[in-house]
């Protein structure tokens, strides 16, 4: 109103106030409502209403009022979805945990296709990184994008997921009928590998939780079982082991119409090829198969065990084997199933001695003695015996079911009271069928455990009446699929990478994954695969190829995989010709792969596994990142340890540091850097003899080439021409001495960090073997070989400390700290079981080489090292609350708010 003219239009009819209790407007100027039929001939108002011009269009209005008015969207504070949201690493794009800092409406761009994924919300977070719900305008749909941490180990591991899932999707299940999540796209954005998946709904754990942990009706159990079996059958055909099957990784699909609900299997981030079972520490504990617990070789049958556990849990609402430790887990299995693992497994399994004692004489190597007498020569340790052997009390969880055998658990589970007689009879019948079904799945003997195909013909799944115990037809022997697969992508997917993934390579290398048969053919493929697998070098079979994780993208192994060069690249390698490799960061690296067998002979790679764990975040990031990693001292410019990085204490130090950090990150707590510092100092002290200048490269990009493919950076130890991996870290773990707690014992929280510890003895190999394999492209600094030794000490001490901390924090994990109430559908949330390790121990293939090698260890860890490690961990515990709240200092920054669950903070 430019000028205010006022009129009072109230008719001056001060009507007698009808003072009714109920207020109602008097009929004065307001008249009873009558719909207006004809449209008025008033000139339409072309101007927007004032309310729009003062809200939606206020900037325009202000510009009209004042042409100089200027406002830019840049002033809008970002609502961060990532926590912590302080940009510390990667030029401020990443937080201290190497997670890309996501904010609402920030884009993730596939530079090749220019497709933009607009981040709208977060679905979950894990050790691997984060999962964002993104809108893709050109597809007019939401997708789930996994944004992997900017650390080589996670990057590698995620590549495995990409290749395995791509294979499963495209090659084995082009029509999407096997209940396996679809992968849509992958690309690198701001140094983060991003993988786009179809967006699904809530997972089965959340479903059970919503159901107040009561079991689902048998018809749903049957339906889901059948669908999951479709997926498992496909995976078996593809010779792929999921390695982390659990209710959290089975997601409901968006329902369309009246169709029955559907589920899909997700998270192939831990999957591996059946013929490359690199890690020994796999599966989430409740769903961990006995052969994995015992350290026996494993196959796709471990997924069937997990599947059995899931089926039981869907029925019961609670996990069947909620072991608080591996000891507890095994004890529960034995009690509930009423048997124990077969002697032939116990005889060969690596960890048998941790859980069993031998009570009979082994007369026949083949174990016939035991079987003929009908009694096992092994007897499970009692709690007391375990305590004596392991020097610690096993954690024992509480029991959910009063009837501790499977039959009673199933039969006595409360019945729905509304069931009428007839339905009740049917329910009982189906439970018998379910019981028989479960018995074939949670079968100790992996050889007898049913395959997906066998299980899918069980009456419980087919719906046929259950009349007698199911005897599956023996699987017809067939050419192992893996063999076939080998032709294409064997081994282990490393090739796939080669073919398909080289994100930053300037676009040169998007080669159809399956197109390069050459790769597969080459003899080296094997070795290479490992690297590619992201196996972190943990592969120990002595034949070698471990690809070191430390090497990261730079690694020669990696190169192979990423090499845009295509098939010819392999040849080049073989010939020892430097090849231009493309590593993820798009820098060029020259690499040479040693010719012939020598090159590949390095077995020790296993040791490096830890690095991969992302223990050395700094590799990808500027030097100061190390500080965040928790051991600033180490990486400091003066750090003597630098050159050796591998296996060096650095690794450990950082490793544990990371662990802590990471954990904290998870829990959203603050940083621990201070705590770490003592330990780092410690480490430094230990390695006085190692001199490597720091080249620091905190940036992995800067690192130049790597050594031989296998040995990767490790070669540097012996050769003295280190390939510098300044930040890379290795964690080796001395062979599991009984005095060290097994990670499994505390592992609900087990996360990748744990993985750092390798099985072991491979350390020693490293030093020896390296010398041959080494090829240096660029020696940054002289190094001494002693590092390897030192490493050993560190390992042990740091392990202890880390373990301790984990153990203490374990209970907290049961909460889902990350879950927002509003997000019912996260794909990835820290599970109650703890995060699935990204890295695992290598599976003992190198056993033969163990032992003797220890001779190399010359340096004993000073006592102090232990203590420092120890101190560190408790401290970190204190500071690392798991809960989500609390950690947010509300004070200072604007933190986003949102829907039921996102946070917002305030600007103070």
């Amino acid at each position: 109103m430019d000028e205010v003219k006022t009129t009072v239009v109230a008719d001056d009819i001060l009507a007698s106030a009808s003072a009714s209790v109920q207020w109602s407007p008097k009929q004065l100027v307001f008249r009873p409502y009558a719909p207006v039929i004809k449209s008025e001939s008033r000139t339409p108002n072309f101007k927007k209403p004032l309310v729009s011009r003062l809200t939606k269009d206020i900037v325009e209005t202000y510009r009209i009022c004042n042409p100089k008015f200027n406002y830019s969207d840049e002033l809008i504070p970002k609502r961060f979805l990532t926590n912590p949201s302080a940009g510390i690493l990667n030029d401020g794009f990443d937080n201290e945990n190497s997670d890309f800092i996501l904010s609402v409406n920030c884009p993730l761009i596939n530079s090749e296709t220019q497709r933009r994924y607009i981040v709208k919300d977060t679905l979950g977070q894990g050790t691997f990184g984060q999962v964002a719900k993104c809108w893709v305008a050109e597809l007019d749909r939401f997708v789930a994008v996994k944004v992997i941490k900017n650390q080589p180990a996670y990057y590698q591991q995620a590549l495995v997921e990409v290749s395995i899932l791509t294979t499963l999707n495209k090659k084995f299940d082009p029509e999407d009928k096997h209940h396996i999540v679809r992968i849509f796209d992958y690309f690198v954005y701001q140094r983060h590998l991003c993988i786009a998946f179809e967006l699904l709904q809530s997972n089965l754990y959340e479903l059970l939780k919503l159901n107040h942990y009561r079991g689902l009706s048998l018809s749903y159990v049957q339906l889901f079982s059948k669908q999951i079996l479709y997926g498992l059958a496909l995976m078996k055909d593809a010779a792929i082991i999921h390695c982390d099957l659990k209710p959290e990784n089975i997601l409901l699909c968006t329902r369309n119409g009246v169709k029955p609900p559907e589920v899909k299997i997700i998270d192939f981030g831990s999957a591996c090829m059946e013929d490359h079972t690199v890690y020994s520490y796999i599966q989430s504990r409740y769903y961990r198969s006995p052969e994995v617990v015992l350290g026996y070789r494993y196959t796709t049958a471990i997924d069937m065990w997990s599947f059995g556990c899931i089926v039981a849990e869907l029925f019961l609402g609670l996990p069947l084997f909620p072991g608080a430790s591996e000891f507890d887990l095994l004890k529960r299995m034995i009690k509930i199933i009423g048997e124990q693992p077969p002697d032939y497994v116990l005889k060969e399994a690596k960890n048998t001695n941790k859980f069993f004692k031998c009570v009979g004489s082994v007369i026949h190597e083949d174990g016939s003695q035991a079987s003929s007498s009908g009694r096992s020569i092994y007897q499970a340790l009692s709690e007391e015996e375990y305590e004596v052997r392991e020097m610690k009390k096993p954690s024992i969880g509480k029991e959910y079911f009063n009837h501790m055998n499977l039959e009673a658990i199933v039969k006595k589970y409360p019945y729905n009271k509304s069931l009428k007689d007839k339905e009740l009879a049917r329910e009982c019948q189906m439970r018998l069928s379910l019981l028989d079904f479960l018995k074939g799945l949670v079968e100790f003997d992996p050889a007898k455990r049913w395959s997906p195909l066998q299980a899918s013909k069980h009456p419980f799944v087919t719906g046929e009446p259950f009349t007698c115990p199911y005897k599956p037809a023996p699987e017809t022997p067939r050419v192992p699929v893996s063999h076939n697969v080998k032709v294409d992508h064997h081994p282990a997917g490393g090739h796939w990478f080669a073919a398909g993934l080289s994100p930053n390579i300037l676009g040169a290398n998007r080669v159809g994954m399956y197109n390069n048969s050459h790769f597969q053919v080459t003899p080296y493929a094997h070795g290479g695969n490992f690297g590619s697998l992201g196996s972190h070098g943990s592969y120990n079979d002595g034949t070698g190829l471990g690809s070191s994780y430390g090497s990261y993208g730079d690694n020669s192994n990696m190169l192979k995989y990423y090499s845009p060069v295509g098939p010819s690249a392999m040849n080049n390698y073989a010939q020892n010709i430097p090849v231009l490799g493309s590593s993820p960061d798009a820098r060029r690296r020259f690499m040479q792969i040693p010719h012939g067998s020598n090159g590949f002979a390095f077995s020790p790679a296993g040791n490096f596994a830890p690095m991969s764990l992302g223990t050395s975040p700094s590799q990808f990031t500027p030097p100061y990142s190390q500080v965040t990693a928790g051991s600033p001292g180490h990486y400091g410019p003066s750090s003597p340890a630098r050159g050796n990085c591998h296996g060096s204490p650095l690794g450990k130090g950082t490793g544990s540091g990371n662990q802590i950090n990471r954990r904290k990150g998870w829990g959203y707590s603050g940083n621990l850097p201070t705590q770490e510092s003592p330990s780092s100092a410690h480490w430094q002290g230990q390695f006085p003899d190692v001199n490597s200048p720091n080249l620091n490269a905190g940036n992995w990009k800067k690192q130049q080439q790597r050594n031989s493919g296998n040995a990767g950076g490790h070669g540097s130890f012996s050769s003295g021409k280190p390939y510098l991996h300044p930040n890379s870290v290795i964690h080796d773990k001395p062979e599991t001495s009984s005095s060290l707690p097994d990670p499994g014992d505390w592992d609900p929280n087990y996360s990748d960090e744990l993985l750092l510890q390798d099985d072991s003895s491979e350390l020693s190999n490293m030093t020896i073997e390296f010398s041959k394999g080494m090829q240096i492209s660029q020696a940054f600094a002289p190094t001494e070989s002693t590092v390897g030794v030192a490493r050993y000490n560190h390992m042990s001490s740091s392990n202890m400390s880390t373990q301790r901390s984990h153990a203490e924090s374990t209970p907290d994990l049961y909460a889902h700290p990350m879950m927002n109430s509003s997000h019912l559908t996260p794909h990835f949330t820290p599970s109650r079981l703890g995060q699935q390790p990204v890295q695992r121990f290598s599976h003992g293939r190198s056993m033969g080489s163990r032992g003797g090698e220890w001779g190399h260890v010359k340096v004993q860890a000073p006592l102090s090292s232990f203590s420092s490690g120890g101190q560190r961990s408790p401290g970190s515990n204190n500071n690392a609350p798991w809960g989500r709240r609390g950690n947010h200092p509300i004070a200072a920054n604007i933190v986003p708010s949102s829907h039921g669950g996102n946070e917002y903070g305030r600007i103070a």
Partner: protein
Amino acid sequence: MAISSRSTHRRLAVGSFIEEYANRVDILTFDEETLSIKPDPNLSIDHPYPPTKLMFHPSPKFSNDILASSGDFLRLYSVRDTSIEPISVLNNSKSSEFCAPLTSFDWNDLEPRRIGTSSIDTTCTIWDVEKGAVETQLIAHDKEVHDIAWGEAGVFASVSADGSVRVFDLRDKEHSTIIYESPQPDTPLLRLAWNKQDLRYMATILMDSNKIVILDIRSPTLPVAELERHRGCVNAIAWAPVSFQHICSGGDDSQALIWELPTVAGLNGIDPMSMYTAGSEINQVQWSAAMPDWIGIAFANKMQLLKV
């Protein structure tokens, strides 16, 4: 426009909308006996940009009348018998020359220290106006925030261009609750009115829509009613100060409609109880507890008080 809460003076404030930098705020006095509204040349003050909202201090007992306005900043004025003086300009912008304009604000009647402002920078800022300091700033939405309304001393709701209505509790700043999202994503919600007689209900309007959406915070996401009898877009809404089930709306169809929320909605939607046709598009509706029998509307260059 705004109506003073003080019972001693029947005061109104009106602000201009002129597409120039210089705008004005005038204070008017309403005499209920003579039914006259008088401007006072002394009670007029310049205002940079058109004010997006005016509001008097909510406490009837406050010694001085204080008027607040939002626009480029949150401004407080002391309104005396013969003069109007600026008290303070509250600016939360830290850096740039031009801050994000404020689209609206609401004065907390239970905790009159608190004023919450909504801004196009996606935030809501809670001011402690006694201290002249920011109590907190929240990123409330993913897009511009268009309006804010207090429910309780520490609870407010906001609407945004992102199409959502969110409720915030200052005791738990970590979370907010979305109680409504417009059916077409990103249809801006422009205004919000919280029913002070029954805090379960609030009403919001969508941009370029003839609908008034009535929400019940107990049943998030599903509106309890949608009032669709305006024949142009709805521009303003005000809950009755004395009844929990009446609301007045004004729209581009020049009509002011009074609605009574039925306990059960009919099949054909809800008809308003009564209607008033103004001379042109109604831009503002005020219905104040200080003058419950009068509804103020503004259209074109006029302000009218309608007796109900």
